[in-house]
């Protein structure tokens, strides 16, 4: 088992090395009140896992879980990449993978209500960039708000009482901003990565980290983001400690090209910690939503200049099956322009324009739009004047009749980013903090940098990155007489018309007479 724990200090001026102590012959690391973002990465060989779990992973060629919390947070570089809140699973099956492998695992793990009938419930991911062959072939998604149940089950099943690491970690996962689990047949290792934007409460992290076993490795980094003059590199400086080897934190500094480059304020300072760019976005729906909700992304105009001329603004939507996009709407230039859209770059998954939700087998669809941004000239005119609104027209499928007038469904916020050209594409994977399998990288070439726009910290008003819409449905508490009423009416109408056809109807006489007179 290998562990790597990284703290990225939020305010380097308020940090002193005295907050870090290595004790007990270098087998215990203590840090006191460190305000930092944290990433915890655990690498396990398949043979280190309980057999039941190991078998689950071995069914796949590759298997990547990306779960993101719906609670808004402020990212700290290098942990700036994002996916829409919820549970994403990216995978490539083996030839031998059973058809129901995904669903039976998910039903065991989460809930039997989950919309999953076979591996085909996942959607095929389009690969626009052929050279990006490292991406998984399919995606599954469910808006899983909280992983509590999964983590509880896991803890009860697999964490032995004496294994403190297991118990502590599972507890901590409950507060993570995102959790990634990666497996592939080549490495035959399972990597769990969890990230926290900050410690719970206002006290910062105060933790004791011990070497769990003699043969395990624990590497701890306490770093801060530093400016770097290379436009494609990020730089970090701080202290690294390998438990069992180092008797004191060792100073370290490194720079690396990065796939997810932080969107930072331009600054001429070569020493000050880079500050995140003030650009944020909010997601909302124009009201009333009806059966054709329009999703609106709002961004402040004043900050909406491309960080680099090669950058294009994009949004990636993860739409559960009750929502769909009519791709044919986005062919017309005027229409696109009126919505502040450039084009629909990609759409995958359930795109049937007519089917009700209950006949859709797939979990939904994923779409990538290129967004327009205001021309630089308007930027200077009136900085106070509000925001740049991008509208994406969506459509609702009919949901099953239910004993209420509306069904409330979640729509996770999309992610928004600038996609920019990167000359150092090939070297990105060497970045120790590289993060892939997010669902959209394969839609771009390998030489692409993603500069993520932060969602507003306010979220939907309650700091949640999710919108809820009420879908009108047929209220079964009122339909008691619909069947009898319909059938009765049709029957009466039918019999009535038969009577008019075959019976001796009076009124016709006059017509006959008049008809005869004419002749």
């Amino acid at each position: 088992m290998k562990q790597r724990i990284t703290y990225v200090v939020k305010n380097p001026e308020a940090f002193t090395p005295e907050q870090l102590v290595v004790k007990d012959d270098g087998t215990k690391f203590t840090l006191q009140r460190v305000h930092a973002a944290k990433e915890h990465r655990i690498t396990l060989g398949l043979d280190e896992l309980p057999r039941e779990l190991s078998r689950v992973f071995q069914q796949w060629h590759e298997f990547h879980i990306r779960w993101a919390s719906s609670t808004a947070y402020t990212a700290t570089p290098p942990f700036t990449s994002r996916v829409s809140p919820g549970l994403h699973i990216f995978f490539t099956p083996l030839k031998s993978t059973p058809e129901d492998a995904l669903c039976s695992q998910l039903h065991d793990l989460l809930s039997t209500d989950l919309k999953c009938s076979s591996n085909a419930s996942a959607i095929k991911l389009p690969v626009l960039s052929e050279r990006f062959s490292m991406s998984a072939s399919s995606q599954y998604f469910d808006y899983l708000e909280s992983p509590v149940k999964v983590i509880d089950d896991f803890q009860q099943k697999f964490c032995k009482v004496e294994n403190e690491v297991c118990g502590n970690l599972t507890k901590q996962l409950l507060t993570a901003a995102y959790v990634d689990i990666d497996y592939d047949t080549i490495s035959r290792a399972v990597v769990l990565t969890a990230a926290w934007p900050d410690a719970q409460g206002n006290e910062g992290w105060s933790e004791d980290i011990e070497l769990p076993k003699k043969d395990s490795t624990v590497e701890i980094g306490v770093l801060s983001h530093e400016p770097n003059s290379d436009p494609e590199d990020v730089q970090f400086g701080g202290f690294l400690t390998v438990l069992g080897q180092d008797s004191a934190p060792k100073p370290a500094r490194f720079q690396t090209p990065t796939r997810h480059y932080p969107l930072i304020q331009s600054s001429s300072s070569t020493t000050a910690t880079p500050k995140l760019h003030p650009l944020t976005y909010t997601t909302s729906f124009s009201q009333p939503t009806g059966l054709h909700p329009t999703l609106i992304l709002s961004l402040p105009k004043e900050h909406l200049a491309p960080p680099n001329p090669s950058c294009k603004l994009h949004t990636h939507l993860t739409l559960p099956s009750y929502l769909f996009i009519d791709k044919y709407q986005f062919n017309d230039a005027l229409f696109l322009q009126s919505k502040n859209l450039k084009r629909l770059r990609s759409i995958a998954g359930a795109t049937d324009l007519e089917a009700p939700d209950w006949v859709i087998n797939q979990w939904g669809s994923a779409a990538l739009f290129e967004l327009a941004h205001p021309p630089p000239s308007t930027e200077q005119k009136d900085t106070a004047s509000a925001s740049w609104n991008v509208s994406i027209p969506l459509h609702l499928r009919y949901l099953p009749a239910s004993p209420s007038s509306h069904a409330r469904v979640p729509v996770p916020w999309p992610v928004v980013f600038w996609a920019c050209r990167a000359d150092e594409g090939a070297k990105m994977a060497a970045n120790p903090f590289d993060r892939v399998h997010l669902g959209y990288e394969a839609l771009f070439g390998p030489r692409t940098r993603f500069m993520h726009v932060e969602p507003s910290g306010q979220g939907n008003g309650t700091r949640q990155l999710v919108e809820w819409i009420d879908v009108p449905v047929l209220d079964t508490t009122k339909t008691g007489w619909v069947e009898a009423g319909t059938v009765g009416t049709v029957l009466v109408a039918f019999l009535g018309l038969c009577w008019v056809l075959f019976g001796k109807v009076g009124g016709g006489q006059k017509v006959v007479e008049k008809g005869k007179k004419k002749q």
Partner: protein, 433 residues
Amino acid sequence: MALSSFFQSQRAVFSASILLRAVFLLYGLWQDANSPMKYTDIDYYVFTDAARFISVGQSPYARDTYRYTPLLAWLIYPTVWPGQFWFSFGKILFAVGDVAAGWMMFRILKEYRNMGDESALKFASIWLLNPMVATISTRGSSEGLLGVFVTALLWAVLAKRNAVAGFLLGFAVHFKIYPFIYAASIVWWLEDSRVGQKKAGKLQSSTSLLDQIVAFLSPQRITLAIYSLVTFLGLNVVMYKMYGYPFLDHSYFYHLIRIDHRHNFSPYNTLLYLNSSPKPTGLDSTSSSFELERLAFLPQLLLSAVFIPLVLARKDLPSTMLAQTFAFVAFNKVCTSQYFLWYMMFLPYYLPDSTLLRSPSIGITALLAWVLGQVAWLQQGFQLEFNGYSTFVPGLWASGILFFLVNVGILAVIISDTKAKTDASSRIVKKIS
């Protein structure tokens, strides 16, 4: 005064009808070029996309929601040529079809209804100068094209061109399925003349069953049957050879198995939504559904393809076809406003002698009820679609039922009017002319 002289001139009426469509077409071009809200019907983009797929050697069914015969995409093939003019070719074709249908209506009214120019033009104007008809075709909906085929079919039948009629019938059924109901009324209508000729020599009571069958298999009928079947099957075989299973799937099977759960004018709509949606597991209620809606085709087909033709066809073919279509649309499991065009094309033949015109109170009541029925439904539909109110029950259901009853009422008037005509009256009129 000006109006009456207007209807005396063929040139004036037809020029006006062409002008109307030209203005709509140009306005549509302007709106499409200047507004993100398009005048062009969504279906037109479906047709033209399908034509584009054909032009690059692909199947028209590569376009989602293309549920028509490939012939339609072939018909508007020039829309793939560059430029706004060629893109509008389909709309122009549909509009020309409209006017051609109107011209045939005018001829039928003159020849087979013994009308003078002025009356014939007035009644043909129900179609020719109808803004709804002109809008539908210039927006690029193919329903108007059907007007040509069906009106031509009627003309061919009345003119005793049985081979042509058979071809048109087979073609129309291939194109849109529903015209198969006309087969019954045309076949029944055809017999009349044959038996009429025989009656002169033979005593009617002495005919045996075999004689009746032999008499029924008249040459005209056999001609019609052969030509229609050969056309229908021939087209299907060719299309199947070219486009394979997707052709059958999208042009025919889709229409048989579709659920039609989305709100529309049909009285069955709410019931279909209710019974097609999955029941919550475990909470299975005791009121099990008998799925009576599966039998919905019975009253529809009995009325439109059997009863109405049997009782009415020999009295007045065009009015019978109106009643059939009216019944078919009213009792259909799905109904949108484009379907109204299907029966509107028969109104010019029926209205002149109708109670609806002769008794203004009945006529105006019927028209108002028909319009108000739609308005009520549309209002409920708007509340659902754009305001998100759950108006399925009682609003949409009740207004759907109400509109259905209004239609049934109008249908009853049409049936009793047609029934009251003497047998083969139209033929007597024709002989005089």
